[in-house]
């Protein structure tokens, strides 16, 4: 059903940012940027278009969510669906030669096509960091601590970060079901958060009842106290323990940073595909139905760009962060100077004074305004230079 487009229509999922939202977004962005900079992360930009074959293929975003187009040579291009892959490309091909570990940050618009309906933007801003070529738990902890400070800098107080480790779940599943293929099936249920399907699938497997219990108990491990011990009790042999040791160490470092109150251990947290390779996390805030941001360790990505180094990082969705902050329209509206021709000079001089003091001011010829009352209604500070000198209201 193709009907003629109306002039006001935009492609699905595309949004306008109106002036007051732009202002709010800019304020939040600059607070977060400031915080990321004080931790030594350097901001950079990459192009909006990348090759599908390289960055598109390396990205963690599903192929059907990519916007694709052809260049003049017939090569497939993608509008960047995330910043991690482009930054990995730049780091591997250039920046790692100058310094490592490398601390980079970005604030960029990303593009992810909508499959079904509106309600979710197809273009949105993400602000985040990548800590490349540092595989220590200290690096994992630094990104989580930095995420906490960045959100607090933005003015958010009420949020929770769930932290898990893919290595634990992976090893537990392999121990019990034996093959990567069967483990993948279980992991898929966890990723889809289909606990009912997970339970039914576990029941259908030919396993001992003890092994079934080991799998089912995983769904019930919650909370910071004793989570790791409970998780450890599910393991047999040595595999998977290293992942739990890392989580334990991570927890200690987070306590040193004083951010443990924001963190909840969730040993059953997994991601889709095999993108993340170690510690991973998601952040949630009240009043927003979707995760505000997420991150984790991705030690295999850089290899696709020719550098055998580990990395970790996070991204915050600006649109969801704004929703979570739910801030009022910022006041600070400009002053208004309304003038008529005879007194233009006075008006311009006063305006210059305002601007020298870093105050916003609009200078408007009264002849250009069709309805003076309606125009001035939106301003709290109005100066008029109309008629002969000395008449100023």
């Amino acid at each position: 059903m193709m009907s003629k487009l109306f002039m006001f229509e935009k492609p699905m999922g595309m949004r306008d940012t109106f002036p007051h939202l732009y202002k709010m977004k800019k304020e939040i962005r600059s607070k977060v940027e400031q915080e990321l900079s004080t931790w030594g992360y350097e901001f950079m930009e990459t192009p909006a278009l990348e090759y599908d074959e390289t960055v598109g293929a390396a990205s963690a975003i599903l192929d059907q969510q990519l916007f694709k187009l052809l260049d003049q040579q017939g090569r497939t291009l993608v509008l960047r669906p995330d910043m991690t892959a482009p930054i990995a490309r730049v780091a591997a091909s250039k920046l790692l030669k100058d310094r490592n570990p490398l601390r980079l940050a970005y604030a960029a618009n990303l593009f992810r096509a909508q499959q079904r309906e509106g309600g979710r933007p197809a273009e949105f801003e993400q602000i985040g960091v990548e800590l490349i070529d540092d595989s220590t738990v200290s690096a994992d902890a630094e990104t989580i601590a930095l995420l906490v400070s960045a959100l607090k800098a933005a003015g958010l107080e009420d949020f929770t970060i769930s932290v898990g480790h893919v290595g634990f779940v992976q090893e537990l599943f392999l121990q019990i079901v034996g093959t990567e293929e069967r483990a993948e099936q279980l992991r898929k249920y966890l990723y889809e958060k289909n606990y009912v399907g997970f339970r039914q699938h576990v029941e259908s497997l030919s396993l001992s009842s003890i092994d079934k219990q080991r799998l089912l108990k995983l769904l019930h491990i919650q909370g910071n106290d004793g989570s790791i011990e409970k998780a450890e009790a599910l393991l047999e042999g040595n595999g998977g323990r290293e992942a739990l040791r890392e989580l334990e160490e991570l927890w200690d470092v987070l306590r040193d940073y004083g951010v443990d109150e924001y963190v909840k251990m969730d040993v059953s947290l997994v991601s889709h595909m095999s993108y993340y390779t170690g510690v991973l996390f998601e952040v949630y805030a009240d009043n927003v139905g979707f995760a505000l941001g997420n991150g984790g360790r991705y030690n295999n990505l850089l290899r696709q760009f020719g550098a055998e180094v580990g990395a970790t990082g996070f991204g915050i969705r600006m649109d969801y962060l704004m929703e979570a902050l739910n801030t009022e329209k910022t006041e600070n509206q400009p002053a208004l100077i309304l003038f008529s021709g005879e007194r233009r000079k006075e008006a311009v001089e006063l305006a210059a004074e305002y601007r020298r003091a870093q105050k916003a001011v609009i200078v408007q010829d009264v002849k250009g305004v069709s309805n003076v009352d309606r125009f001035t209604a939106g301003f709290s500070e109005v100066h008029t230079f109309i008629g002969k000198a000395g008449d100023q209201a």
Binding site: S162, D286, G289
Partner: protein
Amino acid sequence: MKELTIAMPKGRIFEEAVVMLKEAGYNLPPEFDDSRKLIIEVPEENLRFILAKPMDVPTYVEHGVADIGIAGKDVMLEEERDVYELLDLKISHCYLAVAGLPDTKMNEVAPRIATKYPNVASSYFREQGEQVEIIKLNGSIEIAPIIGLTDRIVDIVSTGRTLKENGLVEYEHIVDITSRLIANPVSYRLMHDRISEMTSRLEKVVNGVTE
């Protein structure tokens, strides 16, 4: 403490779900069942119910305007929403099936299927290696083969009576359906204690354990 918002499907599942919640010890007012309101507050339990079309329950939950909800697996399969599926409530048993007029074969060139569940039907036939054309209808699906719109239908069957009364027979059983307790991923984290308490209370009812 913020109230927990529950999206409930109107109709048959609603009644069964209310019985379950009462059995689980939730103190719901007596007039609850035959209310025509779309939003019902139950301050005694710090709960708020929103009454939605069954097909829309996962949508409310995915967007987080409802923290949890009760939805049929048929809807979950069709809508593929990003929600947690916490518990099989084992109510409103039925199944999705392929049905049609007796002793008929599907058209070989372009077999046509009428259904309320285009996604489920399309992926089912694709998995069977058959390329079919899906025609979406919103109700009274049984008419489609009778008046020659399609060769087969994909629809919910609970007792099989409707099929029988319309002279249709079941050809294939696709998947069993029951209602599920679902949760928004963020609510599941932020209101975890309340949601998991409700889950375990309902789980006891499902398993027939009385308090």
